[in-house]
Symmetry: none
Subunit: 210 residues, 4 copies
Amino acid sequence: MQAKKRSIPSLVKDPKLVQKRREQIVEAAVGLFISKGFHKTTTREIAKASGFSIGTLYEYIQSKEDVLYLVCESIHTEVEKKMEQALVESNNGAETLRQAISDFLHVMDEVDDKVLLIYQEIKSLPREPMRYVLQRESRITEIFEEMLQRAINDGSLRLDSHSIRLMAHNIVILGEMWVFRRWALRQRYSLAEYIEMQTNLLFGGLRVEA
Amino acid sequence: MQAKKRSIPSLVKDPKLVQKRREQIVEAAVGLFISKGFHKTTTREIAKASGFSIGTLYEYIQSKEDVLYLVCESIHTEVEKKMEQALVESNNGAETLRQAISDFLHVMDEVDDKVLLIYQEIKSLPREPMRYVLQRESRITEIFEEMLQRAINDGSLRLDSHSIRLMAHNIVILGEMWVFRRWALRQRYSLAEYIEMQTNLLFGGLRVEA
Amino acid sequence: MQAKKRSIPSLVKDPKLVQKRREQIVEAAVGLFISKGFHKTTTREIAKASGFSIGTLYEYIQSKEDVLYLVCESIHTEVEKKMEQALVESNNGAETLRQAISDFLHVMDEVDDKVLLIYQEIKSLPREPMRYVLQRESRITEIFEEMLQRAINDGSLRLDSHSIRLMAHNIVILGEMWVFRRWALRQRYSLAEYIEMQTNLLFGGLRVEA
Amino acid sequence: MQAKKRSIPSLVKDPKLVQKRREQIVEAAVGLFISKGFHKTTTREIAKASGFSIGTLYEYIQSKEDVLYLVCESIHTEVEKKMEQALVESNNGAETLRQAISDFLHVMDEVDDKVLLIYQEIKSLPREPMRYVLQRESRITEIFEEMLQRAINDGSLRLDSHSIRLMAHNIVILGEMWVFRRWALRQRYSLAEYIEMQTNLLFGGLRVEA
DNA sequence: AATGAATGAGCGTTCATTCAT
DNA sequence: TATGAATGAACGCTCATTCAT
């Protein structure tokens, strides 16, 4: 049951223009949503910050929720693009994974407000768009699943196959934790420290005495 | 800089009655907030679901945000109470911790919607109440810090002291992950499985080949 | 067409108690009405300032407007009592009048806030109570009419009879002017100066060159 | 410390339209405020009587009090315009003054309800707007001060300079008296009579027997 | 394609009044 | 006689959305 990318209808025909205007909308809305939240941001504010009138805004969207959807999508695209740029193949799967985790956490650190935004406002999305956004979220997990699998395959990592999915989630959660608990974590650890410690824990684990 | 528990003023003088009515309000509001979100729930709906009129609702609160605060507080109290009931001393610190993690995850599983609610709506709280709620959240992490410390002290666990705090966060995150990613995790793992696997990872870690 | 003193029904039988409680109500309400206005004062505030509960308040009045009526009546009674105490017979009618004007202005100076209150809130009274209050207001004018008449009769003042009523109004207006325009007048004149100048004008008039 | 004319912000940009709509608002609100008072008039009533919806009303004002301010300003403008039209230069200062008083009283007679409205509701205005309205009120007094001064200068009137301000107030009060005490005065005197008698008193004064 | 004035349902909140105790 | 909890109609105001220009 695949939730499909919803293409939001626009009254304007020229697709180039539609894309340009929607970029303006997203650019304006992200900042507003982050600082005031979705519900406390008005469509007038979005229009104004986008640089055009309320009427024009509604030429490119059908409802305020569409803006939230566009924003979420844009954030995911941004994260994915940043991840793509960061990911490089290393000696072996385990090394590649270790590097990818580090990259991922750096990306999350850069877009922390935006990730928070998605988590806090996603429920304001209508059913289907919400499912699509969650699905996209899953893609990131899958990337790590694939990496884990490759590392297992090339023998650089040992992990039973039933735990792969869980471990992938754990990795992603590392990023979300850095975002969600920043008020507590950043007082104590730098990003570099956090990455090192979490990676060590992940690869080493606690040692229980025999 | 300790954020203090805010006692919300009431027009009604009898403290017993105030408590009873506020319990009704919280009981009604939790369900509404979970299913529709704070912003889409109206005060009239809260009043009606509480079993009294809008006028009466405002005898016991000063603003809609007070209801959210009451709800958050009630959830924390519930979690803490459940945790207290669950926690028992075992043979050694490591065992106690292992059991506590299991208990904690069971509690989170029971109150998952409520935990989600707090995370999604906390930003709608005014500054001070928000700080208080976050602080209360921290208490849970501290509990696990103390447990880790005891397990280290009695020799049943080995962990460098700089990582204690982080490890405590990781444990709490385990619970939040189960709540936040339930749409993905519950398709694949039962709670029991999840607990077992995560605990093993925590205590064993991944094994990287030499 | 005489508007009659409206006796406000009370649920309480003991007339002594009714009077006592109503005095408390008036005492409390006058200050509130002066500082916040009738509409912005709540019945709860009146009850609290009166020293009893909202329920008790409604044992002694039937509506919020009754409180305004009681307040207006009390103010009139106070003004009349003060006037009675001040008025003394002098050598002749003109002297008595001159003294009475001075007394009247002193009284108005003392109760200025209350006079202002009546003028600003009287329209909030229901039809009949309003008429009664206005009628009572007229009594003051009549007092000066009578004085003017006596001064004319004893030959100490010359004024055509058709102007008596008007002149009485003019005198009363002197007091109201001191109250209404205090923001402008008191910057420039002391009460004593004001009295002297106005009395001179009244008794002397402008001299137009022949 | 000059209280400045407050220009009320509007969401609508076209100034011509803003002016037109605000005229509609004032036209509608004056009548409502006069008959029911400011507090008992609802914003919906104002909108309806203005011929548009509540939403549209709030495109042109920011709060209900803005309407009151607009109304007060409009009334002052109306009075000033009528005064300007009426005022003509006569033979000498005293004659001009006499005519101006008559004109002023005619104007006050025409707008009596509106003057009453200002006096009864001015206290509902926020601090600064209130100061501005009172200041505008003062302008009328100043006009008469100037006239008195001119009449003194050209020798057509004799009055010590310290009394000029007071006399100007007395003249203005004549108008207010006609408005405030109409319930008593109009039963007895026509406007023409009132003007003649008051002017005579002003210019002649009472004669006290030697 | 762009504008922005107009709409009105709906919101959070207040408060005069009632009535069971 | 005194209380104060309960009521709900009514308020001022907002804002997503529409549509004539």
